[in-house]
Point group: C2
Chain length 190, copies 2
C-alpha cells in the first residue's frame, strides 16, 4: 500500500503524477524531451537506458514499463531482456554497450562513471551530446525509481497493464494527453 | 576536467544547465517549485533535505552550494553542519528529523524507505504532501548529484563561489534570470 493517499486505480508513477500535477508537469516535459525529442539515439535506445537503470535500481514498475516500451519500439523483446542480463553479450552496437555501461555506473553513483568508460564511448563514436543525454536519462530514472518505490506505490502483476502503458508512451509520449489517458484508464481498469 | 565540453568558467551544475538549455528548463522549473514554491516546509528546511542527500551522495559541488543556501536562509551554519553529522542530535524539530531520515533512505534507494520511518514522520505531524515533497526533493537531488558528478564537472575550492551561488538561489530562485546570472558571473570570476 502506498505511503500517501494516491488514487487507488492509478499504480506506480501514474498515481504520483496525478497527486501533485504541478510538479508532474516539468517531470513529464523533461522525460518527453530526453526520450522522445530530437536525438541521434533512437527512441528504442533511449528506452533501453531507462530500462537498465530501473532494472538495477530494482524498481519493478519502471523496469516492466520501460522494457515493454523498448520492446514495442524495437519490434522484438530479445534486446531488452539481454541487456538486463549482460550488456557485453547483448545484440547492440559497441557504442550502445559503452553508453549502457555509463548508465549503469550513473545508477550506482555519479562518481562511479570512469574516464575509461567515457573514452570507450567516444572511441565507439559517441558524441558529447549522446554522453550527456545518457548520463541525464540515467539520472532521471534514478529520480523516477526513487519516487515510485520511496512512496511504496503499487506495481500491477498483469502484463496487459504494462503493454497498455507502453502503447501510450510510445504512441502518445510522456506529456499529458487527457484523451489518450482516459482511453488507457478504461482499457486497463475495466 | 569534465567529460564533455562545457564552458570552462561555469563549474558544477551551472555549465551543464548552459550545455543543454532545453533540458535545463524543466529541471529549473521543478527545482523552483519544490524548493521555493508554496509549502508548509520552510525554504531552509527544504534546502536541508537537498543538503543531506547531496552530502550522502558525496557530491561536493551540490553539498557546498546547498549548505550555503541553507545557512543563508536559516541565518546560521550550525544546523546544516549538524544534520550532516547526525540527524538525531541536530537542532531541528522531531518532524524534520523524521523527514531528513526519509530523505537519507531515498538517497540509498527508494526501497530503503521504511514503513517505520513514514509512521514516525506522520506521528510527528508530517502531512502526506510533506512526505511526498521530501521524497521527490531527495529523488531530484539524486538526479542532480549524478548529473554533476557523472560528467565529472569541476567543483571550485573557493568558498566565495558558493556564497555567490547561495545568494543567487536564495534571492533569485532556480529559474533562469539572465541579469542575476550575469551579476554572479562577474562577481565570482573577476
Amino acid at each position: 500500500m502506498p505511503y500517501i493517499s494516491v488514487e487507488e486505480h492509478l499504480p506506480g508513477i501514474t498515481g504520483l503524477l496525478e497527486y501533485r500535477k504541478d510538479s508532474a508537469q516539468p517531470i513529464r516535459e523533461l522525460t518527453q524531451l530526453l526520450l522522445r525529442g530530437p536525438s541521434t539515439l533512437t527512441e528504442g535506445e533511449r528506452e533501453l537506458i531507462a530500462t537498465i537503470v530501473s532494472h538495477n535500481n530494482e524498481c519493478r514498475f519502471c523496469t516492466t514499463a520501460h522494457t515493454a516500451a523498448a520492446d514495442l519500439l524495437l519490434g522484438e523483446s530479445d534486446t531488452a531482456a539481454k541487456i538486463k542480463q549482460d550488456i557485453e553479450s547483448a545484440p547492440v552496437s559497441e557504442k550502445m554497450k559503452a553508453l549502457l555501461t555509463i548508465a549503469r555506473q550513473v545508477q550506482q553513483s555519479g562518481k562511479h562513471v570512469t574516464e575509461a568508460s567515457i573514452q570507450r564511448a567516444k572511441q565507439a563514436g559517441a558524441t558529447d551530446m549522446e554522453i550527456h543525454d545518457t548520463v541525464l536519462i540515467a539520472a532521471l530514472f534514478c529520480l523516477y525509481n526513487r519516487y515510485v518505490d520511496g512512496l511504496s506505490t503499487v506495481a500491477p502483476q498483469d502484463p496487459a497493464f504494462y503493454k497498455g502503458l507502453a502503447d501510450r508512451i510510445v504512441n502518445h509520449g510522456y506529456t499529458r494527453l487527457p484523451q489518450g489517458y482516459d482511453h488507457l484508464k478504461k482499457k486497463t481498469h475495466s
